[in-house]
Symmetry: D2
Subunit: 340 residues, 4 copies
Amino acid sequence: MHSQAKLRGIFTPNIVPLDSRGEIHEKELRRYVDWLIAKGIHGLYPNGSTGEFTRFTAEERVRIMEIICDQVNGRVPVLAGAAEANVKETIRACETYYELGAAAVAIVAPYYFKLSPRAVYAYFKEIADNTPIDVTLYNIPLFASPIDVPTVQRLADECPKVIGIKDSSGDIPHMIRMIRAVRPQRPDFSFLTGWDAALMPLLLVGCDGGTNATSGVAPELMLKLYELTLAERLDEARELQYDIVELFDALILSAEFPDGFRTAVRLRGFETGVGRQPLSEDQQTELGRLADKLQCLLATHGFTDEPASGCGISGAANGAPEVSRIVEAVVGELRRRGMA
Amino acid sequence: MHSQAKLRGIFTPNIVPLDSRGEIHEKELRRYVDWLIAKGIHGLYPNGSTGEFTRFTAEERVRIMEIICDQVNGRVPVLAGAAEANVKETIRACETYYELGAAAVAIVAPYYFKLSPRAVYAYFKEIADNTPIDVTLYNIPLFASPIDVPTVQRLADECPKVIGIKDSSGDIPHMIRMIRAVRPQRPDFSFLTGWDAALMPLLLVGCDGGTNATSGVAPELMLKLYELTLAERLDEARELQYDIVELFDALILSAEFPDGFRTAVRLRGFETGVGRQPLSEDQQTELGRLADKLQCLLATHGFTDEPASGCGISGAANGAPEVSRIVEAVVGELRRRGMA
Amino acid sequence: MHSQAKLRGIFTPNIVPLDSRGEIHEKELRRYVDWLIAKGIHGLYPNGSTGEFTRFTAEERVRIMEIICDQVNGRVPVLAGAAEANVKETIRACETYYELGAAAVAIVAPYYFKLSPRAVYAYFKEIADNTPIDVTLYNIPLFASPIDVPTVQRLADECPKVIGIKDSSGDIPHMIRMIRAVRPQRPDFSFLTGWDAALMPLLLVGCDGGTNATSGVAPELMLKLYELTLAERLDEARELQYDIVELFDALILSAEFPDGFRTAVRLRGFETGVGRQPLSEDQQTELGRLADKLQCLLATHGFTDEPASGCGISGAANGAPEVSRIVEAVVGELRRRGMA
Amino acid sequence: MHSQAKLRGIFTPNIVPLDSRGEIHEKELRRYVDWLIAKGIHGLYPNGSTGEFTRFTAEERVRIMEIICDQVNGRVPVLAGAAEANVKETIRACETYYELGAAAVAIVAPYYFKLSPRAVYAYFKEIADNTPIDVTLYNIPLFASPIDVPTVQRLADECPKVIGIKDSSGDIPHMIRMIRAVRPQRPDFSFLTGWDAALMPLLLVGCDGGTNATSGVAPELMLKLYELTLAERLDEARELQYDIVELFDALILSAEFPDGFRTAVRLRGFETGVGRQPLSEDQQTELGRLADKLQCLLATHGFTDEPASGCGISGAANGAPEVSRIVEAVVGELRRRGMA
């Protein structure tokens, strides 16, 4: 099912369930895919950051795509993370995912080395000129070389195969600058955000959708936020966006990303296993406490039962200040890491 | 006219016109104040960053406030920038501005030294406990010690005199976290944004208004954006926000902030003089070119005539890519400076 | 005593003792100056960052200089911090300090606003063209606009009044680049470091000396390090530099800079009073614990008695790991603030 | 030849020559290894950042090690870069390189995701507990999660297999803090620097050597600097360090790292081929100009002939200011990228 229509809506950048040996848990992955589609998710995005593509081998990344494309079987578009060690390997991945039936690939800018805009352009240009499948740029400046507005514009102008961008910077004026620079010439170009905490305002300034990790945990909430916003039911959308900020903060700030998401998907009924990045003992404890917290948050919205230990009388009113303090402290820490 | 109602709407952080000797140009400042009020601006905010408070002496800052409070004469509320060398001097400024009739003061977190959240809290607490006038916190992490969410929340909880925050971070999830943490207990607390490039989405997630430098150049546009957004005329608001991003980028990125604004206010008919920060020769040339560019942007919206040299057939369609390239390059540069 | 010889050696950027009302404690300041000179310090540097120039009023800064120049009375050169609100005020301060007999002034690059290299150049050029007194540039990128190598080189080439730079970046290749770019044409140009933790290696790559806050607390140690290094007694110098890193880290990381230095000078026998930046209660407690820690460090080197509570069997062997952990955590925090 | 002695001296982090198809150029790699050993280099460090380990496949990384270990044949120790996608794959690489006869492995902290110190600790602990070969930590905060001092200390305390650290931060007080924290308990622990621009001062504060990319281009210079410094011939060492800063800056700042090194090794007589990261046209031109510049720098020191176009009368006197301006501009750019 190769893309013909513009990419729109909420795509889930799925985590990969692991079995007790730390290997891809194919059965649970298939079950998880079915569950997400049943919940109404508009597309899947395997081998993204949430999918920890850097922690799998090249062979495993292909295997993940095979399982997902097979299980999806054309029901929703698959946006396939295709970044590999170099241009040649990335193009090869594009070919493979094209044959597997992905709608498009998403390619993160080179990471580890921090490249200049000129080299980021040259990298995507060479890929776009040699790929059989449509390409979505993936800008995540916290982790990889940034893709700046002139580069996006130039690639959109020169490369018909480049059909969109996923931007995880969370910077709204940046999104406005991109849309303003590209949309007049390329109305088909898709702008997706990866920053769940600002989905509503980003949609309102013109985004076409999001690839949002929270949708892998609470697809009902993210889809509802998407629809309320499109329907311009602003008060309801705002309330829900506020709750999603709290949920997203709790998910993203626990232990190491994306372990909070892995833990939360387990609460929705899947054997997600233990992540591949070793954690310290106190981080494991922290993740245990997060599980209770998340279960209460999900229970509030009717997605699970309360944990055996109960959730207290709290709810948002009591819980918010504490969460807010934690969130702020850890956001500061994250920012520090991102800059160190 | 001390504040009784919540601070709302668009406040202009005004530049200070200078005469040929580099002194406060009282006559033009008075004329500028009248013009802004005639345009419908909801309030004034002297001695802010746009007002270059750090480049005036303590005596001059008081003089600026005297002129403005006298000229405003109660027609609109005045939010007075009151940061001085230390707590004692700042409290003295609060007393002076209270007597002059300011609605409230705005106090930036300590700068030069980068303080921890604990010391930022202690600083504002001591001021709030000893001031006769309401205090708005001013968070501008690019220039001063950041005021984090738990600090805002704690000050809002403990200090009735602290009645709002002006946040110039431009970070929307950060604004959501603050509102979420404070508004339930303090519905009177005012959230203002200083980031003109995201006014529309910030209003839509719950902000009460903005102190926006662009409103000193094109009050008509900023007020229109405010009203379209409040009326939920989203398509029109979005289009206007896009144009304002282009204007704001051109203003903020020319020479050194806030010289672009000083130049642009001159185009609206005021003798604004030469700023106090010396510029290199090429920056002065750059400012000349900016004047033409701004005049064309303002002419497009009917605020001035085209410059003698004409504006070309361009407009947004041709102009955008070039501006976009410049903007991006300079935004990168700004970011670098902010972090260096 | 205006400068005729190149600035060399260890200058003390002195804190300003405050009395019980928070005012300049003239008597203690004079006594402190005498003590520093008696210890052998090569010069004084009032109104620097350690001197908290931003927390005093313009009048107080002049008063501090009057007291110090009067008390020093030509015994050692005085390098006077002269940054004021704008170029005109800064030049006026230069004139005043020239008349008071300062050897030279030190001027930090503009702060609050983050300026581009071009504007930093224009700022110093205008000052250098209009000052009666020699000027030392002061580069402290953590707090103020950075002064880059080409700017230093250009100012050194064009301005005979610019006779040196104090660099507090702590970046050794940066220092090498500056010396390499400037020294061939300006052998008289002085390179001073403000980063006590790297004084030895910076002297070894060609620095002429330092303005080191630690010399206000333990002048004996800093002078000894200077002399061991110049004598190329490398093993002894290295050992001492290691101890000074521990001391410096403890001083700089407690509460808010420069409160650790204020506390430590009190341990050397001066009434330094309470700093002007309010501290939280836990920071005050932290400063109390620091006092014990510092007293033990100073006692180890024979500068004070042990505190009443004793110092334990520790010393470096036991103490180091704990200090190291604290230091690292807080260094991370500082870095975060510097970049936020 | 597994390590028994402490790692000391200058290790070359070698680039990998590529043939016209972009594949590993085995013959030139072997010839390059022989040349480096003939020049007197103390060890080799394949699959480091200069070796662009992220741009090769897992299979290619093993192949590179096979070629190098075979060609070295025990003449010098080989420090093998062994970072793979996850702990399991990394341990497998450790086993492979142990069997190939590497002296030790060097493992960079996890990259892409920015990990907290706790997770960085857990990562290395799990590797250290399961590896047959000695491990050198590799701290390069510009590219990967930072390894802070307490983490180094804890790993040194708990893991006998962890026998050293390569630090490319270039921060001298940081190096002092590490040595101070670790050396008393682990006198065998090796401290190597990857920051060529500060090799002399780092050796003087206690480093055991360096893994310096410049040694792959001008082994004669880096070895001479090492020996002059150890012999405490400080004036000569300082002069040479200055020249090496100029050379290093030119190498590191041209096009994208490590293309400057690839170009320079070609000037020493090896077919190094075209790097795997595509470059823009102007970057390719830039690299051409660099070649001339480098050839002149190398010619000055007698390593090659002047280019056909000549080198002008320049040398340091004329060349320095221009290089310095370029260097500064690009260093700023690099820093921006590192932080963006």
